[in-house]
């Protein structure tokens, strides 16, 4: 019986790729059983709302050609790809399942192909153990990647299959110099641009330097061939050109003193407080050597099976001296040190020193950022060791060890394959599942938001901490994540206390005191015109702490403790209801209490309190020095210009101004976050040097002095964010690169055709 089983297994495995394809297909299908129809997992820090409505999210993101957009613009091709897939699979549930299916099956198959290629270099003749090795390696890698991140995963999570897939394509490219592989690499990097963009820099910088060095050593030392540097440089140049649409804005934001990337890379404070200190805080709890060695530990981690893979990994060193094993051993040691980050006191000190390197801050979550690189080299080391250990053994031994490895992996990850990772509850909730079913009323309300004019921001209620929106499922589960009003509705909003920025404390105080005037003034200064309200009592009852203000504030704010107190407080506001269905209500504040997005203030104050306490809803405040120097500070302006504006995009406004009889300096306020690259230009004058200052604590303000500018009567102008030029330049370079790549493909096809007899 045993012999028959061994024979069947051997025959099956010897058939080229059959079993591997079957396993990959099974892994692709498995995620379709994880979520019930209509249920989704969309929350989390990153906002996976593109699964719900990929096209709307892409459209709204494309308009954000500013510093915020620079860091996330890379995701656009992927979202468009999802939008296309959604036309086929129709529901977000199947779209999520499809993504997970791709991640699992491609991970397995890529590792399988890598190991098939590498094992050819280990033996001069064809050996059946190659197939066993490749399949075992693929399964081991699948085991590793089941660790975390499958529920509400970040957009960078695709690294789990992109790392091995890109490695395989690079390996084939350097081995064969076939430009087809280069085109596949470029196409994939473009499709999954977010995995090669700003937000994926840790994943990118942790994997590819190691991968390239390993490839170089493999080609030079093992295969003893020359490394095709020219091809690699050409590929890199095409890569840079193709990704210019997201790289140029990203580089622009890095060298912009206001950019997040700039602070992360160059700020000394960030390097110490956000880098080394963050690392120290996490090292004790997350820097576990055992967690790295015995993964996957989430599932059946307390069995002796945890020892199988590590032991086989090192037994290979006993058999015979092998160059590849020596090289892989070094890669294992280095990546193991980086992922565990807690090896000896000297080792920790050395690690901490690394944070003084600009940019190393991105690896502060070491256990996550290095894990998939470590897993990759661990898998390859295991597979090479497995091959060396068994390639001269009897079939019985080979099959037995193969079955032991396969069973040890499958037994441990079986709960994962069953979808048990979806059975968790949301953080600090009253047993609210992380997966939820979408309420059709929610989607309808968001469709209404899309139709609202671009004349102000929205306040999303109930308020949370820091800035998440909570939406309960129709039947069960809930969404806790980034605001749907902003990402799907396309309306800039304030969903939580942190989003108020410098207005957070005054807002808390105003709500505590139930001071309607002060609350309205604050909302007006923030250019809030609409209120998007979720009146579902469950989202407050089932989340007694996080993500509401009770989470980590010690104060009590009775006005926002329940839906009824919200009702009572909002009844005092001058509101008109525009839309109401189910739990969702959209209201509009009266024009009398809303400051326009672009306006000329009637009173300029030297302090925030002055603007808030005053009755006027057209006032502004600036730095006291500027206020005293340029205006009749804290007093009603005697001369008043009239301004009307049109919002062409979030980064471009045009305006018409009536300056008849105006001789005193006045202020033009644009209620968008202050950035030096916002420029105001008049069509009628070449002198464009207006003093650009911070207004209302966050906004852009320009001091226009008619005496200096020689402007009078009706004039027009434009306000635009010049930072958007980076997006224009990037798009042009990407377009040219696509044309060059297309030309190369056509040239290659013609040449091939010409050479045919």
């Amino acid at each position: 019986m045993h012999l028959l089983l061994i024979k069947v297994l051997t025959i099956l495995l010897m058939r080229k790729h059959t079993v591997a394809i079957l396993i990959a297909a099974t892994l692709f299908v498995v995620p379709f059983f994880w979520l019930k129809p209509g249920f989704v997992d969309l929350g989390g820090d990153a906002g996976r709302l593109y699964f719900l409505d990929p096209f709307s999210v892409t459209k709204n993101l494309y308009q954000q050609q500013n510093l915020f957009g620079a860091s996330i613009f890379a995701i656009i091709p992927y979202q468009l790809f999802l939008a296309l897939l959604k036309q086929i699979v129709l529901t977000p549930t199947y779209l999520i399942s499809l993504e997970h299916g791709i991640q699992l099956s491609v991970s397995f198959y890529s590792i399988y192909l890598i190991l098939r290629s590498i094992s050819k270099g280990l033996s001069h003749k064809k050996n059946p153990v190659e197939t066993f090795t490749a399949i075992a390696g693929g399964l081991v890698y699948v085991g590793f990647i089941t660790k975390t991140g499958w529920v509400t995963s970040l957009e960078t999570f695709n690294q789990i299959f992109l790392n091995p897939l890109m490695f395989y394509l690079l390996l084939r490219y350097v081995m064969t110099s076939n430009s087809l592989y280069a085109l596949c690499i470029l196409g994939l990097t473009f499709l999954y641009s977010q995995n090669f963009g700003f937000s994926s820099m840790p994943q990118l910088m942790s994997f590819y330097p190691f991968a390239i060095v390993f490839l170089f050593l493999y080609i030079r030392v093992i295969l003893k061939k020359s490394f095709p540097w020219k091809n690699i440089v050409l590929l890199f140049m095409l890569f840079v050109g193709l990704h210019a649409f997201q790289l140029v804005p990203m580089i622009g934001s890095i060298f912009d003193s206001k950019g997040v990337g700039n602070a992360y890379i160059f700020s000394k404070t960030a390097q110490t407080s956000a880098g080394a200190e963050y690392f120290d805080a996490n090292r004790q709890t997350l820097g576990k050597l055992s967690w790295g060695l015995f993964q996957p530990l989430n599932w059946n981690g307390n069995t002796l099976f945890i020892a199988v893979i590590p032991i086989i990994t090192f037994l290979g060193f006993f058999i015979k001296r092998n160059t590849l094993l020596a090289i892989l051993g070094s890669f294992f040691v280095i990546t193991f040190y980086l992922v565990s980050a807690n090896i000896t006191i000297i080792g920790v000190r050395l690690y901490r020193l690394l944070f003084s390197i600009p940019g190393f801050l991105m690896f502060r979550s070491f256990d996550d950022k290095w894990y998939y690189v470590f897993s990759f080299f661990f898998t390859v080391l295991f597979a090479v060791s497995f091959f060396l250990l068994l390639h001269q053994r009897r079939k019985l031994v080979v099959v037995s060890v193969f079955l032991l490895v396969s069973v040890s992996v499958i037994f441990r990850i079986f709960p994962f394959l069953q979808g048990k990772h979806y059975e968790g509850d949301l953080f600090q909730s009253n047993n609210v599942p992380v997966v939820f079913d979408i309420d059709p009323d929610l989607m309808e309300s968001l469709s209404f938001v899309k139709t609202l004019p671009d004349d102000g921001n929205a306040l999303t209620l109930p308020l949370t901490l820091p800035y998440f929106q909570v939406i309960h499922g129709k039947q069960s589960g809930a969404f806790v994540g980034l605001s749907m009003v902003r990402l799907i509705g396309g309306k800039d909003d304030y969903p939580g206390f942190w989003s108020f920025g410098s207005y957070q404390e005054p807002m808390i105080q105003a709500l505590r005191d139930a001071d309607v005037h002060k609350t309205l003034q604050l909302l007006s200064l923030l250019n809030v015109r609409y209120i998007y309200r979720n009146t579902d009592q469950r989202i407050l009852d089932k989340f007694p702490r996080y993500p509401y203000y009770k989470f980590d504030m010690t104060i009590d704010i009775p006005t926002i403790n329940s839906q009824s107190t919200y009702d009572d407080y909002l009844r005092l506001f001058p509101l008109t209801t525009l839309y109401e269905k189910g739990f969702y209500r959209i209201q509009k504040l009266s024009d009398t209490v809303v400051r326009p997005t672009v306006y000329i203030p009637d009173v300029v104050y030297a302090s925030q309190s002055g603007a808030i306490e005053n009755m006027s809803f057209r006032s502004a405040y600036v730095d006291p020095t500027i206020c005293l120097e340029m205006f009749q500070c804290d007093l009603q302006q005697t001369q008043q210009s009239k301004l009307s504006f049109t919002r062409l995009s979030p980064v471009t406004y045009t305006f018409d101004l009536d300056m008849s009889g105006v001789t005193d300096p006045f202020l033009i306020i644009l209620s968008e976050d202050f950035h030096p690259s916002w420029k105001l230009k008049f069509n009628e004058t070449n002198d464009q040097t207006f003093q650009h200052v911070v207004g209302n604590g966050y906004a852009n303000a320009w001091v226009v002095d008619p005496a200096k500018t020689q402007l009078s009567g009706n004039v027009s102008g434009i306000i635009e964010l010049t930072f958007k030029r980076y997006f224009v330049i990037g798009n042009i370079i990407s377009g040219i690169t696509v044309l060059i790549s297309m030309s190369l493909i056509i040239y290659r096809i013609i040449k091939k055709y010409e050479h045919k007899p």
């Binding site: 055992s290 015995f294 020892a307 090192f314 060193f317 020596a326 051993g329 040691v333 000896t344």
Partner: protein
Amino acid sequence: MNINRKKTEYLLAIILGVISTFVYFDLRYAFGNYDTPFFIACGMYVFSIVLLRLTSRLTIGIVVLLITSMAIHYMLYGPVRLTERLGEWFFLFLCIGIVQYSFETFFR
């Protein structure tokens, strides 16, 4: 240095005995949470590699022993201090083993 086989085995047994004692007491937390035991034991082991021309097989054997002990300890007690300390010993011996193995592969 010509040392005959018997003397070599004798010396090796002593050195391994001393190192094992160091590891044992370190795991019992006798030396506190310092690197000193690592330096002394690994220093002695490297010295014995040079002196007795030990091969990487012995080192990898120690590595496999350490990782097996670590796995058993993890299974019984989880990622406690002792499991992690075993992990540190495993890592240091693995480093020595990989360097030895690479040296044997590339230069012999």
